[in-house]
C-alpha cells in the first residue's frame, strides 16, 4: 500500500516504520535492497537569529500525497529499482521534533544517498506544505518559491544538488 509509504500525518514520525515498509516491499519484489538511506528534518530553535518557540505546519494533504508519488516516480526513472517512503508531519511541532522523514531503498549505497537527497530537495520545491514559525515576539509564515511540479529547471537543480 502506497499509504504506508507516502503520507501527511498529524502524529510523531517513525523512520523505523518507513524502513520496515520499504524492506517488506523490496522483499516482496524478490530482490531485497542493498542500501537504505534516511533523512529526517527537525525543528530548529533559531531562525535568522530569532529564537523559535514552536512551529506549525499546514498542508494541502491530498495534493501533497500526489506530489510525493510524483517524486517517487521521478526517482524510479532516474535510479531504477529505488523505493521511496516520505512522511511529512502537520500541526504543532516543538523544537527538535521531526517534520519530515524520508527513506530510500536501492540495490547499492551510492544511489541511495543521491535519491534520498533528491527526494528532500523535491519535497521542499513542490509539496504544498507551509511552515509557520512562532517566536518569542511574533510569528512568520515562511515562504520559498511557488510550487510548480512541471518546472524542469527546478527539477534539474534538485538533481544536481543530489548528485554533487
Amino acid at each position: 500500500m502506497a499509504a504506508d509509504r507516502l503520507a501527511v500525518v498529524d502524529a510523531a514520525l517513525s523512520l523505523e516504520r518507513l524502513a520496515t515498509a520499504l524492506e517488506r516491499l523490496a522483499r516482496d519484489r524478490g530482490e531485497g535492497c542493498g542500501a537504505l538511506c534516511s533523512f529526517v528534518g527537525t525543528v530548529r530553535a533559531v531562525h535568522q537569529e530569532r529564537r523559535v518557540r514552536h512551529l506549525e505546519y499546514e498542508a494541502f494533504a491530498p495534493l501533497a500525497v500526489k506530489v510525493f508519488a510524483q517524486i517517487e516516480a521521478e526517482i524510479g526513472r532516474h535510479w531504477p529499482g529505488a523505493l521511496v517512503a516520505i512522511h511529512h508531519r502537520v500541526g504543532r511541532l516543538e523544537i527538535g521534533e521531526a517534520s519530515v522523514a524520508i527513506v530510500v531503498a536501492t540495490p547499492h549505497r551510492a544511489e541511495a544517498f543521491q535519491a534520498c537527497r533528491y527526494a528532500i530537495e523535491r519535497v521542499k520545491q513542490v509539496a504544498p506544505i507551509w511552515k509557520h514559525e512562532f517566536y518569542e515576539d511574533g510569528d512568520v509564515w515562511i515562504e520559498g518559491a511557488p510550487a510548480d511540479p512541471d518546472d524542469e529547471t527546478a527539477r534539474q537543480a534538485a538533481l544536481e544538488r543530489a548528485c554533487a
Partner: protein, 81 residues
Amino acid sequence: MRVKVQLFARLRELAGRGECDCDVPAGSSVADVWRAVADRHASLKPFAGAISCALNADFARMTSPVHEGDEVAFLPPVSGG
C-alpha cells in the same frame, strides 16, 4: 456557476477563512476565480504573481477552465521540509 475556493497558509489567514464559494460566469478560468476572490479580499492581491493553483486537488494553470462545482485551490509559495 459556483465553484468552491480553498485558501492555504498566509492566504487563508489574510482572507480570514480557508474555504468559500465563488460565483463566476460560465467559461471562466482559474485566473477569473482568483480575480473574484481577490476583489473580495484585497489583502490577497499582492500574491497574484506568486501563487500556484490546483483544480480538484491536482496542480493546474491559471488559464485552466473551471466548471460548476469544481474545487479551486490557491497556494502561496511553499515551505515544507
